[in-house]
Subunit: 350 residues, 2 copies
């Protein structure tokens, strides 16, 4: 089965071999306080910075999921006010989750085809500006340049970015924001069960100032543990090792970015030529590079899903309000050319 | 390297093969909302109940770690009062973690050689009684019968039990308490990154009554997700699959229990015959069955650790206040007879 689900999608073929190595090297039995673990953790952080072009003064943390990152931000970085820019289900969920902890969490919804205008986005009260860079539910994105502009207009605010289904798939300008987070089961091409959170010096400073220390995943505690490449609780050690191995094999994100963008452009061109199906989002300026939702009438979509399944292909179901009117195609780096061709072969009849 | 570290210790040799199966079956790419995941999750829960003799009306949850379980209990089951019975570092940590969220968290420390007397343990104010069944730092245990007695004396209180390094190694009387939690990297013989929390109907009822809904891991939310065999956030899907596979191969806990106890008795008899080393805990009534700490003078311990390392054996370091005066031997089911013999061969010279 080839999975085009936008996460978890295809994992790298090398994973079982890496697990075998982990077993032979005793990695599955190492203690998360040991030198052996710290060496793996340090190397993983170093590779993440190299491959993804993350500034050297940013701190990288391991979490159990992106959902946990929402909570860490709410607990350790938001005192009351946060502004949630979203146009889909995941950005909305982030707002809802934050609102449970802070009544000051404010929704700033916008349209699916709308390109945000940073000049119109002003947040006078200090707080955390929360942006879903890649909205997995509808395949839209907020470009890095726009995030940079928002941060530039609000240097005293923190900007936090959900890059769950884009990090490691496209080049992100990490300097443009203070907190970035992602899950490894999307563009990293790894099994689920590990999240990553990346913080600017300004975010770390803010967390130290707020000094929230009530939770095992309080950011101050996580920061002090990470000085020794460790986590407060037992992490997914095997997941971190697999991430390290996959990063060792990876090229720089600039090369991956080019391929991802070219493939997405191919998808859009291909879909635009179809009669019965079309890209859900038509504004090229806001189309995601890593998730391509396809719309059509219900019968056609059902027909395509059945055909795909027969050919051992799993498509992503529609999500949230686009549940019945779309299916989604992951455009993640681990997917192979021939797999994409196989799916196109099926879709070209529509 | 053979790891006798009391968690993560030896993992089952079958793990790499199971990962290969997972890759071939597409398990590493399945969505945690899919039927395929729900089937694995349901089967894992069912096997846990069968193999460990967990009452059918108890609910089993997946968490990221045992530390997360401490926080879930503090957030969703403790309103103010909790009583923490401990004699070692992990029980003490549980108390400290809870105290950050509730000023009413009360420490009830006791001695390492002390067998608790349930008649003297009375907690008039309603709250959660927290017991570390197996204290990994010093290799002591609170027997199930004693926990049962404490619960019987306090039917209105909830009793929560940390069984991190004993669950799946010895038979626990789950009916004797309301909440049990463990990590799979100990007696389950699996790679780290997955915790289990097991709740009685009374615990679920209490969480529904308290109705804490602020966190992604609020117990009410977890309970409602688990009716569909799901979790609020993306879980360690591969870890759950590996747990299912290992449980499929496992015998009933009663058989494992007998072997664990026999092996622990062998260890104690063996250590008692040594001249330079001895079991840390001498009271047989409180000795752990799964973690055997060994004491001796500093030079002897250092000598043994060096020798063990030369023979590709990793011993558990001392922990907390026993850091420099002990090393620890995991007595976990995944360890093989010949591996134990190999370690005994080294230790018999002391």
């Amino acid at each position: 089965m080839i999975s085009f689900y936008p996460g978890p999608s295809r994992v790298h073929d090398e994973i079982p071999g890496y697990v075998q190595d982990a077993h032979e090297l005793g990695v599955m039995s190492i203690n998360h306080r040991s030198d052996a673990f710290m060496a793996i953790s340090e190397r993983t952080v170093s590779l993440l910075k190299q491959r993804l072009n993350i500034p050297s003064d940013y701190t990288i943390f391991y979490t159990s999921s992106a959902t946990e990152c929402w909570e860490i931000i709410a607990q350790s970085l938001i005192t009351d006010k946060s502004y949630h820019l979203y146009n889909g289900a995941f950005g909305q969920k982030w707002h809802e989750y934050t609102q449970r902890l802070h009544s000051g969490a404010t929704a700033v919804p916008f349209g699916v085809e709308e390109k945000l205008d940073p000049a119109k986005l002003t947040f006078p009260e200090e707080g955390v500006i929360c942006i879903t860079q890649n909205e997995t539910s509808n395949g839209t994105q907020v470009p890095s340049a726009l995030i940079k502009r928002i941060k530039k207009n609000h240097p005293q605010h923190l900007v936090a970015v959900d890059a769950v289904s884009s990090m490691a798939g496209i080049a992100l300008d990490f300097k443009a924001a203070d907190v970035w987070f992602a899950s490894v089961q999307k563009c990293f091409g790894l099994p689920a069960g590990l999240g990553l959170m990346i913080c600017s010096p300004q975010a770390i400073e803010r967390s130290n100032h707020i000094a929230e220390k009530d939770h095992y995943n309080s950011l101050t505690f996580m920061t002090s543990m990470m000085t020794r490449w460790q986590t407060p609780c037992t992490p997914n050690v095997l997941g971190i090792y697999l991430l390290m191995r996959v990063l060792e094999d990876s090229e720089n994100i600039k090369d991956t970015h080019e391929k991802t963008v070219a493939r997405q452009e191919d998808w859009i061109a291909f879909l635009s030529e179809r009669k019965k199906i079309a890209p859900l989002v038509s504004n090229g300026a806001v189309q995601s590079h890593t998730v391509v939702p396809v719309t059509g009438d219900a019968d056609t979509l059902q027909h395509i899903k059945t055909l795909a399944k027969k050919n051992d292909i799993l498509l992503g179901e529609g999500y949230g309000e686009w549940k019945s009117t779309t299916f989604r195609i992951a455009n993640f780096p681990a997917l192979k050319k021939k797999e994409i061709k196989k799916l196109m072969k099926i879709l070209e009849k529509f």
